[in-house]
Symmetry: C2
């Protein structure tokens, strides 16, 4: 019944629920006599998300439309519509390697900047579930596998250089990268207007800004983000980009996809787990801390299997090479995780995990812990020998 | 009289001297009643180079045409004609920053894969001049300045990220990069058919192939070449790509241009100077060894000036940042120089500096010195604190 459609030629206009339903009819996404209902369920800042359901069969699909501006700051921050294309193509590219973890793209319309997707409304956004105290036993292993497969198979380790360089061009994504360059790597480390700093944190943050050692390391991490075209990243892999249940994990929203350093996706995910760990009560804390370890373990185990099985690199037989690549990925991961944590505490786009804590004393305490961990990850990223020394740092911070 | 022309729409055909003259007439490159003569002066493997002269005025221009195959292995190695476009655009891009060192592009014809250039036949190819024992007092300072300006101004240190990422796409150059990936970073380090190894070197080369430490470091250097999109490189900056006189320096042939690691161009140039040093008699040796130091000094001095003057990087005010960037560039430079030296001794494309030595005992001795220096540069590239420890290694090797 659902068809894979690709339509071009229409002029861009913002959809509403009526237009979204009409589109579903025009595109024959449902059978002829379906009765359709539609709700806009987007909670992001950059897109509309329409859920269209056949009232009689309960079958449903998602139409996601990129908006030409960022809602968070009104219409004044224009944003390329090309990101809808990037997102659909990244889903398809990553879907080749981990179909069970990547939502299916049912169709695209470049001129309307829409992507038609399978409906995953039966799942929960990981951030929401985790805030509500849920645990997802498959999350770490699934994300570890997702990371290993999407990153390995789009890298020079697995691709012919012609294919890889073609993808680098295809996924050139300057506007979305600029958001990360500014909001993750620059603004939080300077007294920028975009920051949002609670008064109780002001003195700590000013000390951070004045610490030239930290800023030197952030400068290097930013340079790595700007120049190291390792693999096709998701580009925004926080827990708000992941749907989960006890049985399933789906990674969505890769509109920030581009060729960047392998450690960036891993670092963002781990950073968001760390922040969630900090908010939990003791008995719930360890379960999630273990998931940080399990993520890294699943990533490295799968990565190593793929390296042995599918590497096209003439040098892959040298054992120490893989060890050194993974060591470099770990230190990049931790540095990026540190930047992500800091920007989520004091930058423009903060996280509900921390913001929803009503008790202001507790919230400030946790934010201070987060800032401290973030800075330590940045400064000592080359010294952590294993993921366990990282999780022990987190354990120590909350005890 | 010379016009800037841009013609498209013709079908590709290989030129000869008659057709080149006709083209010069069609494009009105000379005044109406000129008497023109033409010679093919190319000695490369990938292109025709026609020199067209007005017999009466002695005014002349160059028409360079890319061939659809590499002559070195007959017509069996097809090569993209897009490289003519890349070359012309790289000359224009680099020419913005160092006009005195980059040949002027007078016109292009994409369909014929030709570039019309100012004639620099009054200059000598640096490799030839150096082999003949010449010294070029301005060479090191000019190339150092060329490297600093072309690399700095095309990097994220100087460009808005949108402009930089646009150039990354524009200069995507998979086919030419593949030649370097194979001939510089892979084939010489394996028992590959493309290698050309003198029997007396066989045992040394087999020891090189068996040295996992060296191969690990080459693997990492190759990965850096594949992934680190720092700046718009020349991509093939050996002494055969440089015209010189006592007064002038011009860098030509940037058909390998792409976004790569800053150290690559510097490393290739220095490697070719080192090989030339090894061939020289004692009294001539030091003059050229000093030019290696002067190149690095000119590069770093200019780079630092530009960093202070024109950096757009928010972090550029952190003093240690520039120091660390230049330290990283030095180690990359030395690693790449090591690979370049080794491939010029045992790989497919060797250099006349070494090949023209008739005395086979002397030639083998120098080739062994070169291989040893190459391997040391690769292995110890992180340990050299300054360019002087490199030149002292070279001095020590030949004493």
């Amino acid at each position: 019944m659902k068809r894979v459609v690709k339509v071009v030629g229409k002029k861009y206009e913002e959809l509403n629920v009526e237009k979204a339903i009409q589109l579903a009819i025009d595109y024959q996404l449902f059978s002829e006599h379906s009765e359709l209902s539609c709700t806009e369920i987007g909670d992001g800042n950059l897109n509309y998300v329409f859920r269209i359901t056949d009232i009689n069969t309960d079958e449903s699909i998602i139409i996601k439309q990129a908006l030409p501006y960022a809602k968070v700051v009104g219409e004044s921050w224009p944003l390329t519509l090309k990101r809808a294309k990037i997102e659909a193509e990244a889903l398809k590219e990553h879907g080749k390697y981990v179909p069970k973890i990547v939502p299916k793209v049912l169709g695209t319309d470049t001129s309307l900047a829409i992507t038609i997707l399978e409906d995953l409304s039966h799942l929960t956004v990981a951030r929401e579930g985790l805030i509500n105290g849920e645990n997802y036993p498959k999350l770490a292993a699934d994300i570890g596998e997702y990371l290993a497969k999407t990153l390995f198979y789009t890298s020079d380790f697995a691709l012919h250089p012609f294919d890889k360089k073609k993808l680098v061009v295809q996924f050139s994504n300057p506007e979305l990268c600029k958001i990360t360059e500014d909001l993750v790597f620059t603004d939080p480390f300077f007294d920028s207007e975009t920051n949002n700093i609670e008064p109780e944190l002001q003195s700590i943050v000013e000390a951070l800004w004045a610490n030239k050692k930290t800023k030197l390391e952030v400068a290097k991490l930013k340079r790595t983000f700007l120049t190291k075209a390792d693999a096709l990243l998701h580009g925004d892999l926080h827990t708000g980009s992941i749907f989960v249940s006890q049985k399933e994990t789906k990674v969505f929203d890769p509109e920030f996809a581009f060729y960047g350093p392998i450690g960036f996706d891993i670092g963002q995910f781990i950073a968001n787990l760390i922040m969630q760990v900090l908010t939990r009560e003791r008995e719930q804390r360890e379960l999630l801390t273990l998931q940080i370890e399990q993520t890294w373990l699943a990533f490295t185990t799968t990565f190593s299997e793929l390296w042995k099985k599918d590497s096209v690199d003439n040098y892959s037989y040298i054992e120490d090479y893989e060890v050194e690549v993974l060591r470099e990925v770990l230190s990049d991961t931790l540095g990026f995780a540190g930047c992500e944590i800091i920007r989520r505490v004091i930058g423009l786009a903060q996280v509900k995990d921390l913001e929803s804590i009503q008790d202001s004393e507790k919230r400030i305490k946790i934010k201070k812990q987060a800032l401290e961990i973030g800075e330590l990850l940045i400064l000592n990223r080359l010294k952590f020998g294993s993921i366990h020394s990282v999780t022990n740092l987190v354990r120590g911070a909350v005890e």
